[in-house]
C-alpha cells in the first residue's frame, strides 16, 4: 500500500514529492538586520569565525587571520589548501585543510598533522569541535567531494556525509554517524548529546554519542543550515548557506534536467543555491519577486541570502537576522559572539559584520 501511495505522491506532487518550501515567518521573519550591521572588517572568502583568548580567528581561503577588538587584521599563518573548518579550545586551534584532514596548532597537540587513513577519510571537513583536550568531533560533508564542492554535492543529491570522533593522541577515528546529507555544523551541549546540522535535509539532529541514537530537533527549515556556534545564554547561533526555493526543489526532482545541467552548464551558472549573486550577467537572475516589462519573473528566485538564527538550548528558533535578495551580506556561514556583540562572516559579501548588543539578550 505504501508503495502505491508513494507512486501516487510522486505523480501528484505531494508528500515526499511535494515541491514546497516552508516560509520564512515567525522568528524567521525577514528583516534587514545583517544589512544594517556595522562593518567589522573586509575579508575575501570570510569564514570560520572563532573567538579565542587573543582575539577573533577567521579564515580567508588558505590564510588564518586574527582580528583585534577593532577589526584590525593580522595573518597568523598560511596553509597549502583552503581552511574549511576551525575550532579553538584551551589554547589549541584545530584546522581542517580541504582534502588534507585536520591539523593542530598550539596547545597540547601542537604541530599534529593528519596522515594515512585519517587524511583520506576526513577529506571534506566542514565543522570541528573539541569534546575535550584529546578528542575532536569532526563533521565530514562528503565522502567523495571536497568542501568547496558543496553545490555539486547538493545538486548530485549525495548523502555520504559523516560525523567522526578523532582521538588526537592515538589518531584513532570512530564513526558516530554516516549517511548524512552534508553535515555542516557541529556543537556540544554539555551532555552526551551533540547537535549536527544536516544541510541538504534542512534539519538539525541531536546525536547521542554513547548510543549513537539520532533524533531531529529542528526540521523542515526554509534554508540550508551550516554551522552552529554556542551563544552566551545557553543557546546557539545557527548560520545558513542560503534559503530554499521551489525552483531548486523542482530541479532536484527533475532528474533529466538536473543531470543535463550538471553535465553541460558551468557550475557558476547553475540554478542552485549560491553564496553570492550578481557577479556575472550569465548567472540566473535573482530578485525574489523580480518584475520586468511588468511581468513577474517566477524564475528569478533568491539563490543567495544571508541568515543567522538565534536558537534556545533546545534548538527552538527565537529570532533571526537577514540579508535579503537585494542585499550583499550573503553566504553567512559562520558566526561567533564577541562580548555583547555577534560577529558574522559573510563569505559571499567578503566581509565580517558586527551586530551590536545582540548577544546576551542586551538587544537594542
Amino acid at each position: 500500500m505504501s508503495a502505491v501511495s508513494r507512486l501516487f505522491d510522486r505523480f501528484l506532487g505531494r508528500g515526499d514529492w511535494a515541491v514546497t518550501v516552508p516560509t520564512l515567518d515567525g522568528p524567521l521573519l525577514p528583516n534587514q538586520g545583517l544589512e544594517e550591521a556595522e562593518l567589522f572588517a573586509g575579508l575575501t572568502d570570510a569564514d570560520n569565525l572563532v573567538r579565542t583568548e587573543k582575539g577573533t580567528l577567521a579564515s580567508s581561503a588558505n590564510r588564518l587571520m586574527r582580528f583585534d577588538a577593532d577589526g584590525k587584521p593580522e595573518v597568523t599563518q598560511e596553509f597549502p589548501g583552503e581552511i574549511t573548518a576551525l575550532a579553538h579550545a584551551r589554547g589549541m586551534t584545530a584546522l581542517a585543510i580541504d582534502g588534507k584532514g585536520v591539523v593542530i596548532r598550539g596547545g597540547l597537540h601542537d604541530g599534529r598533522e593528519a596522515t594515512g587513513e585519517e587524511a583520506g577519510r576526513l577529506s571534506c571537513v566542514t565543522a570541528l569541535t573539541f569534546l575535550d583536550s584529546n578528542t575532536l568531533l569532526v563533521a565530514n560533508g562528503s565522502a567523495s567531494l571536497p568542501a568547496s564542492a558543496w553545490r555539486r554535492d547538493l545538486m548530485q543529491k549525495n548523502a555520504s556525509g559523516s560525523v567522526w570522533r578523532l582521538d588526537l593522541k592515538s589518531g584513532r577515528l570512530e564513526l558516530i554517524r554516516d549517511g548524512l546529507g552534508w553535515p555542516a555544523g557541529i556543537a556540544t551541549t554539555g551532555s552526551n548529546r551533540v547537535y549536527v546540522t544536516e544541510a541538504w535535509r534542512h534539519r538539525v539532529l541531536a546525536i547521542d554519542l554513547a548510543s549513537k541514537a539520532t533524533v531531529p530537533v529542528l526540521e523542515h527549515l526554509p534554508a540550508y543550515p551550516a554551522r552552529i556556534a554556542p551563544a552566551f545564554n545557553a543557546g546557539y547561533w545557527l548560520t545558513f548557506y542560503s534559503v530554499r526555493n521551489q525552483l531548486v526543489e523542482f530541479i532536484l526532482r527533475e532528474e533529466t534536467f538536473r543531470k543535463r545541467m550538471l553535465a553541460e552548464v558551468p557550475e557558476a551558472y547553475w540554478m542552485a543555491p549560491s553564496l553570492s549573486s550578481w557577479r556575472d550577467y550569465r548567472e540566473p537572475m535573482q530578485g525574489s519577486q523580480l518584475k520586468q516589462m511588468n511581468v513577474l519573473k517566477p524564475y528569478a528566485v533568491t539563490r543567495s541570502y544571508g541568515l543567522v538564527v538565534h536558537c534556545d538550548q533546545n534548538m527552538k528558533p527565537l529570532s533571526s537576522f537577514h540579508s535579503r535578495a537585494d542585499g550583499t551580506v550573503h553566504g553567512t556561514l559562520s558566526a561567533c559572539e564577541a562580548d555583547d556583540d555577534l560577529l558574522v562572516a559573510s563569505r559571499g559579501g567578503s566581509r565580517i559584520v558586527r551586530l551590536a548588543k545582540v548577544a546576551s539578550g542586551k538587544r537594542g
Partner: protein, 498 residues
Amino acid sequence: MSDNIIELRGATKAFSRIPAFKNVDFDLRKGEIHALLGENGAGKSTLTKVMAGVFKLTEGKLFFDGKEVSFATPAEALRAGIAMVFQETNLVPAMTVAQNLYLGEEKMFNRLRGLYIQARQFLAGMGFQVDPTAQVSTLGAAHKQMVEIARAVHHKARVIIFDEPTATLTPEEKRHFFNLLQRLVKEGIAVVFITHALEEALAVADRITVMRDGEIVASGAAKGFTRASIVQAMVGRTLTETLHGEVKRIARPYGDKVLSVENLSCAGLVRNSSFSVFSGQVTGMFGLVGAGRTEMAKVVAGLLKRNIFHGGEVRLLGKSARYRVPRPAVRDGIVYVTEDRKFDGFFETMTAGENLQIGELTEASNPLSMVSMSRAKELAKQWGERLRLKQISDRARMIELSGGNQQKVVIAKSLIQQPKLVIFDEPTRGVDVGAIVEIHQLISDLADQGMAVVVISSYLPEILAVSDRILVVKRGRVVEEMMLSEATEERVMFAAVH
C-alpha cells in the same frame, strides 16, 4: 396628530411564562432611523418581530399609525406597511431576483420577460445594480440584502425593520447601504435598525434605544449618546476590558511551530500560500472579504480539498497532514470554529447540551459511543458555567438562544475536543459587545494555556485587539506578517489593499 407611526405601550412578550421583554414603551416616528441596541438576548429581535407580526404580544398594546392593531401573521403586517429584513435573508435561493421580488403576486400565466423588465426598472429606480435574471443563490450577501430591501419597498412598506443588516457587508457595501437608508427616509419611510456596530448607530441613526434584559434602559436622540454611554447602558457596567486594542499589550513569545502551511493552492481561491502558526500565541489573519482566508483555514481543517496536483503541504507538528473530511483533523487536534454558525455551526433544533455532546462524539475514538441525555446535561452545565451561557432553560433549543450564546456553544463544541490548534473564523460576527469581550478573553486564555490560536476577522480593531502577530491575506496569499508592536490599522489595511 401624533408623529409616531408605531407605538408600543406596556408591551410584554413571554415564552413559556418567561418574558423576552416586559412592560416596554417604544415609539417610532415617521421618516426617522431608529437604532435598537442591546446585548444578545436583550429582547431586540423579539420586540421587532412583534411589530412585524411574527409574534403576538402577551400583554400591552401595539399602535400602527395611531390605530391599535394586532397582526396575526407577517403577511398581514406587510399588507399594513411593516416589512422586516431579517439577519438571514428570507429569499428563495433557487428563484431569480425578479421572481423573489414578485413572490406571492404571481398571476395565472406569468410572462417572465415582462416580469424581468418590470424588475429591472424597479431596481434601477432604487439605484441597485442587481441583475433581475440572476438566481438568488449566486448572489453575495450585499446583493441579497438589496433584493430584500427592494421587496420591502415594492410592498409599499412605510416601516422597514432591519435586523443586523451590516453584519455580512464589506465596508464598501456598508456605505452603499447607509446611502440607501437616507434615501428611504427622504421618501418618508421609517427605519428600525438593529445593530451591534455602535459606531454605525451613532453615525446613521436619528434616535437610539438601548435594551437590556428585556427592558428599555435608555432612549433618546443619537446626539446625546457616546460610545461609552451606550456600552454602559447595554451591559450595565463599565467595560474595563478594552474592545478595540486601545490598551498596549505585550505580544506573547513564539512557542513551538504547530502548523506549517507550505505553498498551498486551492482552486483559484488560495494561491501558493505559506504561513506558520505557533503555540501559545494568537495569530490574527486579516484580509478583505474574498481574500481567501476562510478557504486556507478550511483546507487545513479538512473542510475543503487542496488542488490535486501540487496543491502544497500542510504540516501539523512537523508531520504531513492531509484530510479528506474534518473528523481526522479533529482527532489530530485541529478545530475550525465556523464563520457561519447558523448554517454549519450547530443543530438548531437540539439543545446546547446535545450540541456539545456531538462535539465530544466527533473526537471519540470508540465507534460505539452513544448519545446520553445525562451527559448532555452535564456538559451543558459544565460549559455553561465556564462560558457564562445564558439560556431560558436547559431544554431551550439552539434556535431560541441569542447570537452571542449560540456562538459560545459553537466555541464550546470545538474546545470540548481538546484541540492543539483552534481556528476562529469571524468569532464575534453578530455578537453583542458584552459577549465580544468574553469571547476575546476566552481566545486570550486559550493562548495563555499554550494552545495555538488563529483568529480570522474582517474587523481590523478586533484583529489588533486579540492578535500577537498578524498575517495579512490578499488574493489567496499571505502577503505580509507583522508583530503586534509594529501593526497599525493603516499598515495592515495598506498591506491588504495594495
